[in-house]
Symmetry: C2
Subunit: 122 residues, 2 copies
């Protein structure tokens, strides 16, 4: 999935998952899609953004309405992982940061003005 | 840059920059490297993580010790942008979210145990 999550109005919660893929990523694509589909069904789901470079370093940010929703999602992920046993196969390393979003703004080429005046400073 | 930022100890601040590149990205690579070099010189700099998929959707997360450091970095970016006029050329759309990191944990293949017991649940 390579699309923007909505600017949902602060405060809400970001779960920043950064990872380095291992060499063997068999089954990873299907599992990632299944996880995103599962996320969309969870209470408080706002959106997911994901990017992965050619070298295998990736960032996925999932957005949640509340911290309780983010915690519940971690519980779901942990449980699914036990069944898929995928995480320790697909990743060399990962880090997770859970953060409360306090400010946000966006810009789009054909849709000025946006929430911010970036590009028109001074 | 495709590397991990340190788990710096909560609380600290994440600036999540998500973007869709435009077709014309001439000069982008050099500018991105220059911006990262500039970031490293700023007060409160913790780290930067960045990934961009083949379709041009990218996520860059910069980490800062305090919210004041993150705000100061935005001021620097705005000022540099005025000179480079790059942002409106290189991007079709972008969004920025500033968030306070409240929890974090990591896992690495050859360095268990880490800050979390992910993968060994149940």
């Amino acid at each position: 999935m390579t699309d923007f999550a909505p600017l949902a109005g602060t405060p809400y919660v970001a779960v920043i998952f950064t990872s380095q893929q291992a060499d063997d990523v068999a089954g990873y694509g299907e599992a990632a899609e299944a996880m995103e589909a599962l996320a969309r069904e969870q209470p408080g789901y706002v959106g997911i953004e994901s990017a992965r470079s050619a070298g295998g370093f990736g960032i996925t940010v999932s957005y949640w309405a509340t911290d309780a929703d983010a915690r519940a999602w971690k519980h779901v992920v942990d449980h699914v992982d036990v069944q898929q046993r995928g995480r320790s196969t697909w990743y060399e390393r990962y880090a997770v940061r859970v953060a409360k979003i306090e400010r946000e703004y966006g810009w789009e080429r054909d849709m000025r003005p946006s929430h911010d005046r970036s590009g028109s400073t001074e």
